[in-house]
């Protein structure tokens, strides 16, 4: 039986959805794993199996609107059962249309191949000493002060420095980027419905990366930018042009910022508020990766991504005509009781099949930086445990356990805290 909610809340602009998107998705789930929204002309996919099906079907679903979202009508009139050519002809009308996250087909295969070896275990191992040293320095400072606002003081600068080090961004420019990113509007802003995503921060950084690539071309080093400047596409001959490299590098720099930083904040909330969890992790650090996977499932940094059907297709048995926009609700799929059981909304360490969550998406566009995010967040959490005997969330700022109140980044894409005040007892 299909039941309808009395009034459908607007996923893209409603502040109550921002505060608790999981409640909104549970409200929508009775409509079925795939449903047509009343507020916008698009489908909402909340089922795990259905989301995976869409994400793993790049033949029928374009990623062109993955940043622009499904909140707006198409910038063209779709014609026929295959609109692939129309999509490409209108690519410049989409925000982020020149970024790898929106690419399809060969263009995506080519650019993705350039980064496929950038976050491998050995590459991350080489970067681990920097992460460890930098994390230790930052954590010691705030422990000495008895606490801090975690997001601005630790999470954001830490992830910025880690990716800057990996790419080879010079020290003197790192703070500039950090400041520019902090000034910029969040991706998918619910407070700016006419232009929820802008790319001016990326454009600012692009001018710097242009110079870096020129320098690396003349004098290659061992950093990732040097590797990119000498890389070829899978045919082994064709080299990417400079603009492609710049937009790729800038995107890699920026994409990891918010999501990794938010993961640290989200993880700390669970560490502090799940009874016994902090002590359990302190006693057995090997549980940290398990904890992170469960946090990624329950409260990963991306709530949703978007796709556009470019051919007449189906999701399961549901007919989807070419031109249909689809919200792939990652946060809903990761709590789908059909996949995760009746305790889907609960935190459970070592949940069976946990690594199959789609917190980092799935398919061709799986987050390339996922291995980096996992390592960097685990590294700094280990540092916190090394240098503290107890971590608490400030009751003065966020209320008591069970009645916490937080400010979330005003985004329909990102899930994470604007700020998190923590109290830290030294060891």
């Amino acid at each position: 039986m299909v039941t309808k909610c009395p009034v459908e809340r607007d996923y893209f602009t409603d502040h109550t959805v921002l505060l608790d998107p999981y409640d909104y998705f549970e409200e929508m789930r009775p409509r079925g794993p795939i449903c047509q929204l009343e507020t916008h002309d698009c489908l909402l996919v909340t089922g795990f199996q259905e989301c995976v099906e869409v994400l793993r079907n790049p033949i029928d679903f374009s990623s062109i609107n993955s940043l622009a979202s499904s909140a707006f009508p198409l910038p063209f009139e779709p014609k026929g059962s295959d609109i692939s050519e129309q999509i490409e002809a209108n690519r410049d009308k989409y925000v982020g249309g020149d970024l790898v996250v929106t690419f399809d087909d060969d263009r995506h295969t080519n650019v993705r191949s350039l980064i496929s070896r950038m976050f491998t275990p050995s590459r991350l191992k080489a970067n681990e000493a920097f992460m460890q040293d930098y994390a230790t320095k930052m954590v010691k400072e705030v422990v000495a002060e008895g606490g801090c606002e975690l997001v601005s003081r630790i999470a954001t600068p830490y992830v910025t420095m880690v990716i800057a080090d990996l790419l080879g961004v010079p020290d003197e420019d790192r703070k500039l980027f950090e400041a520019e990113i902090a000034k910029g509007q969040t991706v998918g802003s619910i407070d700016n419905p006419d232009k929820p995503t802008d790319t001016s921060t990326l454009e600012f950084m692009g001018t710097f990366f242009y110079r870096y690539f020129q320098e690396r071309a003349e004098n290659p080093g061992t950093d990732l930018l040097s590797e990119l400047v000498t890389a070829t596409y899978p045919d082994g001959e064709t080299k990417p042009d400079l603009m492609t490299l710049i937009s790729l590098a800038v995107f890699m720099f920026a994409a990891g910022q918010d999501t990794s930083a938010k993961l640290l904040g989200n993880a700390l909330r669970y560490i502090v508020d799940v009874p016994g969890l902090q002590q359990q992790l302190r006693e057995d650090r090997k549980l940290i990766p398990w904890m992170l996977e469960e946090v990624l499932r329950l409260e990963g940094s991306s709530k949703a991504t978007h796709r556009l059907a470019r051919r007449d297709t189906k999701i399961g048995d549901y007919d989807v005509p070419a031109g249909t926009q689809v919200i792939v609700a990652i946060a809903a799929a990761n709590r789908d009781p059909r996949r995760w059981g009746e305790d889907a909304n609960e935190f459970k360490l070592k949940r069976p099949g946990i690594r199959e969550h789609i917190g980092f998406s799935r398919g061709q566009h799986t987050c390339a930086g996922a291995p980096l995010a996992r390592v960097e967040v685990a590294t700094i959490l280990n540092c916190f445990f090394d240098h503290t005997s107890d971590i608490r969330i400030s009751e003065e700022k966020h209320g008591k356990p069970g009645a916490r109140h937080y400010q979330f980044e005003p985004s329909f894409i990102i899930r994470g805290l604007d700020n998190l005040y923590v109290e830290l007892d030294p060891k």
Binding site: T109, R117, P234, Q364
Partner: protein
């Protein structure tokens, strides 16, 4: 274009035509073969695209990196002809190759 014969975990064989330059993992997942989880999306980081490659074609695939080696060593189902499908870049010389999806760890 190279034709590859892919066998899934139910021993069903599928024939896939793959363009040069595409990774074997991408071609198999694009075909909708669910057995190949490929959780990391081809970043050589998770070993969930483990396949067994027709031995006579092994020499025509680029050498294994230390990362791939390390990930495969952690699999209980590693064999001499194991590879991660995300690291197998297709070329015309692999026409007629057979690949079998390894059991899940």
């Amino acid at each position: 274009m190279a034709t590859v014969f892919v066998t899934d975990r139910d021993a069903l064989e599928m024939i896939i035509d793959i363009r040069p330059g595409t990774s074997l993992m991408q071609a198999i997942t694009d075909e909708g073969i669910g057995d190949l989880l490929a959780l990391c999306g081809g970043m050589c980081s998770c070993a969930t695209c483990h396949v067994y490659i027709d031995e006579k074609f092994l020499g025509q695939i680029s050498a294994m990196s230390d990362d791939e080696q390390g990930l495969l060593e952690m699999s209980s189902y590693r064999k001499e002809n194991s590879r991660l499908a995300c690291q197998v870049r297709m070329s015309d010389s692999l026409d007629g190759m057979r690949a079998t999806i390894a059991p899940a760890d």
